[in-house]
Symmetry: C3
Subunit: 375 residues, 3 copies
Amino acid sequence: MGAVREALDALPLVDHHCHGVVGGELSREYFEELITEGGSWPGISSFDSPVGVAVRRHCGPLLDLPRHAPPAEYLARRAELGAREVNRRFLAASGTGVFCVDTGYAPDRLTTPAELADAAGGTAYEVVRLENVAEAVAAAGVEPDAYGDAFRAAVQRAVARPGVVGVKSVAAYRTGFDLDPARPSPAEVTAAAHAWSARGGRLDDPVLVRHLLWTAVDLGLPLQLHTGFGDNDIRMHRADPTHLTDWLHLTGGAIPVLLLHCWPYQRQAAYLAAVFEQVYLDVGLTLHHVGPARARAILEEALEITPFRKLLYSSDAYGVAEFYHLGALAFRRGLGDLLQDRVAADELGLPDALRIAEWAGAHNALRVYGLPGPS
Amino acid sequence: MGAVREALDALPLVDHHCHGVVGGELSREYFEELITEGGSWPGISSFDSPVGVAVRRHCGPLLDLPRHAPPAEYLARRAELGAREVNRRFLAASGTGVFCVDTGYAPDRLTTPAELADAAGGTAYEVVRLENVAEAVAAAGVEPDAYGDAFRAAVQRAVARPGVVGVKSVAAYRTGFDLDPARPSPAEVTAAAHAWSARGGRLDDPVLVRHLLWTAVDLGLPLQLHTGFGDNDIRMHRADPTHLTDWLHLTGGAIPVLLLHCWPYQRQAAYLAAVFEQVYLDVGLTLHHVGPARARAILEEALEITPFRKLLYSSDAYGVAEFYHLGALAFRRGLGDLLQDRVAADELGLPDALRIAEWAGAHNALRVYGLPGPS
Amino acid sequence: MGAVREALDALPLVDHHCHGVVGGELSREYFEELITEGGSWPGISSFDSPVGVAVRRHCGPLLDLPRHAPPAEYLARRAELGAREVNRRFLAASGTGVFCVDTGYAPDRLTTPAELADAAGGTAYEVVRLENVAEAVAAAGVEPDAYGDAFRAAVQRAVARPGVVGVKSVAAYRTGFDLDPARPSPAEVTAAAHAWSARGGRLDDPVLVRHLLWTAVDLGLPLQLHTGFGDNDIRMHRADPTHLTDWLHLTGGAIPVLLLHCWPYQRQAAYLAAVFEQVYLDVGLTLHHVGPARARAILEEALEITPFRKLLYSSDAYGVAEFYHLGALAFRRGLGDLLQDRVAADELGLPDALRIAEWAGAHNALRVYGLPGPS
């Protein structure tokens, strides 16, 4: 198999961005909904997709099924084993040592970070989603004039809780990145808060999104940014991270900025990571959706010019425990094969390859978030 | 060769978007013009390009020539056999069972759908190009105040003809997709029709293009949209289909939307197909221009996250019969090798691979257009 | 190794866009700064990147080191040999017969074109960077009312010097390509010159950048345009060359336009080269940054639809002589393997492959710039 693949297979990963797993049993409809970024479409099964094929191929055997077992058998066996056992098997198989859990997206009832870590035998930290904090501040009935201070104070309280290691923004979903990069003035924030208060709904005002991003800059913690791939709430062309260039210049490296997912803009993200000291990237979410059959191709593009201290691992697993396993597998094989083949072609020395694997799989994240190594 | 390649080679394709073939004999200059999206350039032969190389390699043998025969020999033999025989050979070799013919682009005198089907031994349907209908309405001297109703009525008449199975828009060429997604009001349409009437020329007013797209929504028929690659009348960055996101939300799945060509935005198109129930894609036109040497690479990207019910085949052949053969060959080989290799790597089960091949090559199109299977 | 690779290895390249080499000895910090588009980042070595790995692998042996020797050994040996010998070895190894040197970017003291050609045993020509000319005109204290004429006269003087074969613009850096494509009126130029005179600083006024591009059109010389990849002064999404489409239509083929670097927009650049007679492209700078391990993948994309008379070679080497060698190596291997494999797969005839290799490596550039062949 080769030394690099072996080393990556043995490495406890640091999954710097993931979510929880749905705790209870899952109907076929619910399972199919959870494995797609699309939705429930009559007559089109989510299993008939790259991710569906990958689940049957790579997750089935962990449930004692033959490879490629049909969806009905897969789900029957899943139900038979029960959610707790299924989750335990996939989380253990993922070989994840550290989880940084974004707790801010939970339309479903999810496992807590502690439950997650427990099932996997790892350690969990928390990432605070800033839009949730802002919306909670608004929901609590803050006066628009006080919104700016109240949001800042709420964020500071949220990140002061034990185990919080970073913050996250879904600005890509709310406005896209083609925003005025400048810090908004207090008067602008107040005016926008008034308008938001009158309008209601989720935080999607461009001024308040900018204020949120600049509040993150002041915090000093690593900031995760959703970029690229997601559900149909994204306007993809506005989620190209290179629209952040002026903002990255203005913020001047105050905080690490971690570009999540990135596909189909992995090259654009790599460019930013290559020219801005504070920028890092991963291709989480993408890897399990394209599956092991294409994970390497995505990683090849993501690594074309990315400095080796700048690539991180994340699963972005949400809902089904399968995605922890699939994400980890696709990452280990994709990166492992890429590095191994470069060693075989004598384009890369073996010690270098081993170092790059360890950096991307664990050490880069430990360094950025200031975490101890996995136990 | 493998079971998937064999199955794809034997499958009568449904070519859901193509044009006609020039009926008469072709001079070298004319032939060279027809095989490029560029034009006639002194000192640069169209044969010195990926598509030119592919024609000599894959079409020459069907004219009894050795592979890679020089252009002059190729064209001499082509003339010797005569257009009728040449067209018959390439159309038969394409193994196409069903053609959906866009009859709206014909700067050259082309075969009719019936002649095409006849030469290939298949069945032909028609796709109505909406810009042509609009321009015919204007040319007939409609009063601007009556344009909206007249266009709607003309489209309804056009699609009521026997054999019409869908409509097409070249909005990508006329305005690009970065349009206001909302349905324009009757007053806006009338005002724009007045301005167009005064100005003349082709339909390129943004309000009237929006009106055209919303008229298509009301029809209920599948709508083909040119996206990405084309001649230099395109502003490529405005033909990125993700600019359609808001419009896709507003139209709410009323009609199937088929993204044509897509390159270099095949990943963006795949994203839309993965997150919008009503979106489908193909990589027609692209496949014969890149040739069999790169068709697989394009298909690999197009399929990274595309649900397997969402990929269709089209040749987008225009003018020369070679492109029916080349498009079909590039598709069969590209998809066949992709699937076969995944089966060989045990990433995909053989029955799944065979099903995906059949879906993409024929059944997805039959389903979307509501057609009977090829006879 | 194969006939195509052999032919490419023996071909004296025409490097149609490069810079000079820093003449003196280089500290580790300086060397690390010169091999990245990023900068000096504490704790992150530039050697820990694709280009760093490629330097150790492919340049070390030319300094008598084993492959993959560590950075400290590499730099020690480099210092031991001395800059003159190091430069001579890499320049000779590059096998470059002709250099077209952009002399307009020189934050460091660089070798002159003549010194460069001397070290390589080749011939050097000069490319005039238009922004420098404009800024020199302004620095000389021209009256804003006279700026338009003064700039035009200065450019004409600059290109009249012996050895000048083309001009270059970094409009991508200054404004991006999403500009009004029209030629600005004299009054607009004067107004903009007044504003620039009052404001000072580098030339980044959109009207003056347009004026600069139109001045180039009037000159009749080939115009090189930076597109895509560069340092963090770029707004990448505005450096997509398809934004030039309207300008390319308006200028109507008056001059050859050479798109440099292009990554990650090599497909967009290829599209322009395929549909505009006057457009050419290279993937210089990109090739040594991604290294030989990925050069072929980039070239595969760049060549998907590019007519074979439209691809040129450039190193875009700057600062360190290593990049002349690496760029040439990555080009020869990447293109050589691509062509050789297509010959082996019988997708391309050998004589065609040899012709394409020669065109891309030398003849296309000789033709565009009207140069005699390398001696």
